[in-house]
């Protein structure tokens, strides 16, 4: 009988504690516990940069799958050309570009620059994506190969000219990281090959290391810096390193990028290995990129 009493008491306690477990506070805790159990998820970092270009060159961003990004970019003349040229505004060159997201990992793009009448084509492949959670990855890594075709008339028509002399190849790796909501940095080791060079001793291959980043000033405005350092042994004579400073301004479906740079060209080959302007001499020019996205395909 005594043991039954104990059992009885025991059962009673369970019932009691059970009804206690139903307190409102505990439902949220129960939910939190359930959430913990299903936390086996990977959270990918988004919006490392506002758009797929940092200033002149690529950022680690891709356009989303099924999205067409139309880019209209202008570079004006040197500011130190003075008032006669309205500080360079009279000498506009432009590039129009069309970038499309094939998958979440792959985007392709085409462009045409008035500067040296150049066509360019590229793809950008995301190899690693910065993430937290189940998969922890500190960086985003992208690979961007670009081919450029210069269609200017041959300088010397009397020579036997080869079509291949118009071609330029660029291979670029972009290692980027979003350090915080406002701060992102990236490194861009780059290889440029040009089939034809001016001097017999000029290098056909060149290496450069780019560094760039952004700092948000407000939710929709950031200041960006981009610098490409050409390794001295591979530099084309008479060229300088490209340095650009600019702002990204985002308004709904548009991103406006306004910047100052010493590079006239807007494809990898020209601004990395063929920049002629010198900041210290005032060979600075104003430019802007306008990006407008159109959702064409399906996102998911």
């Amino acid at each position: 009988m005594k043991s039954i009493k104990i059992l009885f008491l025991f059962l009673f306690t369970i019932t009691f504690s059970n009804s206690f477990a139903q307190e409102p506070e505990d439902l949220m805790k129960l939910l939190e516990k359930e959430m913990e159990a299903t936390k086996q998820k990977t959270f990918y970092t988004t919006a490392t940069f506002k758009t797929t270009r940092l200033i002149n060159g690529h950022s680690v961003e891709n356009v989303a799958k099924g999205v067409l990004d139309v880019k209209i970019s202008h570079r004006f003349g040197n500011i130190n050309d003075g008032g006669y040229e309205l500080f360079g505004l009279d000498k506009a060159t432009m590039r129009m570009g069309f970038d499309y997201g094939v998958t979440r990992y792959l985007m392709v793009g085409l462009g045409r620059s008035t500067h040296q009448k150049t066509y360019d084509a590229f793809f950008k492949l995301k190899i690693l994506r910065q993430s937290k959670g189940l998969k922890n990855m500190p960086i985003t890594l992208s690979y961007v190969p670009t081919i450029a075709l210069r269609t200017l008339k041959y300088e010397d028509q009397t020579l036997k000219n080869y079509y291949t002399s118009r071609l330029f190849y660029t291979h670029q790796l972009i290692i980027g990281r979003k350090f915080s909501e406002g701060t992102s940095l990236q490194l861009m080791p780059t290889f440029v090959h040009q089939n034809l060079v001016k001097g017999a001793n000029d290098p056909n291959d060149m290496f450069a290391i780019g560094i760039g980043g952004r700092q948000k000033l407000t939710k929709r405005v950031s200041v960006n810096i981009e610098y490409y350092y050409q390794l001295t042994d591979y530099k084309q004579p008479g060229t300088t390193n490209s340095l650009s400073v600019g702002f990204d301004i985002e308004t709904g479906g548009h991103v406006f990028q306004l910047h100052f740079t010493n590079s006239q060209g807007m494809n990898e080959r020209t601004f990395i290995s063929d920049t002629k302007g010198k900041w210290e001499k005032g060979d600075i020019l104003f430019g802007f990129n306008i990006s407008r996205v159109f959702t064409i395909g399906k996102n998911h």
Binding site: T15, Q22, L31, E34, T46, G66, E181, K219, T251, G253
Partner: protein, 182 residues
């Protein structure tokens, strides 16, 4: 002795029902709509978690903000980055109760109109709301759905001037959950 056994049986039964009080879902559907003359924006999240206590009517929801899927990728990015700030405020939650739970007979198939009152937490702000909901019991399965409006101002979600006409100040939220006994 016979009485004792009866009480014993009663307590055991009580314990059993007690454990079946909580009903849970891990794939509740929460969607929202913003309607303006210029454009309509809508997004859906199919991973809302919720627990419902059928005895006292307590109900809680929790949802990951970055789990909302949009048709336009850029909208999704802006939603997380600029409006909801999902890295700062990763979750939205609701904690409250069905005030007229006694209306619902969970052992009988039927549709019951109820009222839910509690605290909605979004974007780091909490607001007490009361919304109408419908509970449906079918073959012991419980489902719940509700449609209600929230104001973006109540949750300190700022909309910049340039897109003022694209985003509604009042957002319609739809909740649809199918619970399982726990």
């Amino acid at each position: 002795m016979k009485n004792l056994i009866l009480i014993f049986a009663a307590i055991v039964t009580l314990n059993c029902t007690a454990t079946a009080q909580n009903h849970i879902t891990k794939n509740g559907k929460v969607s929202f709509f913003s309607k303006t003359d210029i454009e309509n924006i809508d997004a859906v999240n199919n991973q809302a978690m919720s627990v419902l206590n059928t005895q006292n009517g307590d109900i809680v929801f929790s949802i990951l903000i970055n789990g909302f899927l949009f048709k336009k990728a850029l909208m999704q990015e802006h939603f997380n980055e600029n409006y909801m700030e999902s890295t700062k405020f990763p979750k939205g939650s609701f904690k409250g109760s069905i005030t007229d739970i006694s209306k619902v007979n969970f052992n009988k198939d039927g549709t019951y109109n109820v009222s839910v009152k509690g605290d909605l937490n979004l974007h780091g702000e909490t607001k007490n709301i009361t919304v109408p909901a419908v509970i449906q019991v079918k073959a012991k399965k419980i489902s719940a759905n509700a449609t209600f409006n929230v104001s973006v101002d109540d949750f300190k979600i700022s909309i910049p001037k340039v897109v003022e006409n694209n985003i509604s100040k009042t957002i319609e939220i739809k909740v649809d959950c199918n619970y399982e006994a726990r």
